[in-house]
Amino acid sequence: MTFQAAAWRKHFPLLANHPRLHYLDNAATGQLCEAAFDAVTHHELTHRANVLRGTYRLAELADSAYENARQQVAKYLNAASDAEVVFTAGTTASINLVAHAFGEGLKAGDEVLLSLAEHHSNFVPWQMLRERRGVTLRILPLTTEGRLDLARLGDFITPRCRLVAVTHASNVTGAITDLVPVVAAARAVGARVLLDGAQAVQHGPVDVAALGADFYAFSGHKAFGPSGVGVLWGKAEALAALPPFLGGGGMIGRVGAEQTTYALPPRRFEAGTPPIAQAIGLGAALDWLREQPWTALNAHTARLAQRLIDGLAVLPGLTFIGPRDMRERLPIVAFDLPGIHPHDICQVLDERGVAVRGGHHCAQPLMDFFGVQGAVRASIAPYNDEADIDALLEGMRDVIRRLT
């Protein structure tokens, strides 16, 4: 059975509105699937109310929908319980939550291990923690292809390591981290593991139990869900050990002028009115995604990525920022064409309806590693097809004709 991109495409209303658009910026934001759109609309138009406090029917329906979304997320992640799912504003908010709540327990000299491939959202929060608490950041180097250099894990994870915070998959190179040795090395020194799943969740269900992590962060808007919502999954005992981060309504047990007690997870970490409609939309998106034929979908996107790589490889001087084959990687293809600036490339491609991104991709340390200032990145979703890839390749020939 060959997968039909056209069939998948039908579930994304924006794409129907732009029949000539070649949207290849899926790593920045995925298009909203109709399941999410419909769930948000249904919520807003039939049972919008604040959650977890009201006793009237509308509020009960809103509560059920919100808690149902938590269950849908838990199911997608194979979490042991929906109480392990914290709704946040996005990946960045989730990681900052851990950097503060877990960070509170760290002291000068404690170590956090990152990698040079991290997105700024999994870099800057730790630099800020270093400022606040004097922890030491250790940065795992990369192989020449841009993968985490796991051979050197032993040099970088010391007995002082308290947390390993690395990406599940890179938003630039597409490389999927081989987590088995990472988790084992962290466990060996008693460190917790946080995975940045911002790029991974949209390529099929994740099994947090099998990954063996303690925390997993991702965003709704990259997973074909609404913006304004994200998730921090945390193993029950890992969440239970954390103090709250943000203070406000909903996360307390009892507030006194002098003393305040806190609610149990996940509510302890959901201060204030949560992104209700957005969580409901994300739940619906993941519920729909969970049932998709991922083996076929991933074979389809890998084929497209390979077609793109093969087509680009013949361009003179072009450097791939990341692996050149499709083993253990996502359909994200980044490249640099010396002498032509990524933004100029993107602009010319845009004239042909090809939407790709150019720049540092919020990964400046990785750009520095590759010795480039920026790169062009095409990121593929199952609704993309051969025509999208060919439009990009044709556009690149135009770029070279016109800009060199």
């Binding site: 977890l52 406090r53 006793t55 009960e60 509560d63 059920s64 047990g253 009892r254 609610a263």
Partner: protein, 141 residues
């Protein structure tokens, strides 16, 4: 429609306040809050051979909570820690649709609460607090 949420028998049960009050020298006392509504139940027990010999409760809560506490007052003596824990689960199951456990037929008064998930906690709170008070007594020993 939850027309019969406040049926007369439930109001009567709440008003009866079986077991309401204080014990002079309890073996264990537990205090539990509902984060949703700020309700609070205090439960005191005297044990004999690990089983509740006497109990008393003080409820700042809604009718459902008071009726549930009254029911605990009516049938709660004789329970040990394990049975009290099991009872809490059976009450939760009843609210989810199961039949009341043997000896607790009055729990059927709470059937109209089923569709109102936000109120389940109100019914459960006295049962959970009873269990907590028994556990507390064991710690005192």
């Amino acid at each position: 429609m939850n027309d019969d949420l406040y049926q007369q028998a439930l109001l009567d049960l709440a008003k009866a306040g079986h077991g309401a009050g204080t014990l002079p020298s309890p073996d264990g006392t537990a205090l539990r809050d509902s984060p949703l509504c700020g309700d609070r139940v205090r439960m005191q027990v005297v044990l004999e051979d690990g089983r509740v010999k006497a109990l008393a409760h003080d409820v700042k809560g809604c009718l459902l909570c008071r009726a549930a506490a009254s029911l605990v007052g009516l049938h709660g003596t004789g329970l040990n820690a394990e049975e009290a824990a099991a009872l809490s689960e059976q009450v939760a199951a009843t609210l989810a649709g199961a039949a009341p456990p043997p000896g607790w037929s009055e729990l059927s008064l709470f059937e109209p609460v089923r569709p109102h998930r936000n109120r389940h906690g109100c019914v459960l709170l006295p049962f959970e607090t009873l269990h907590a008070a028994i556990i507390e007594s064991h710690k005192q020993v």
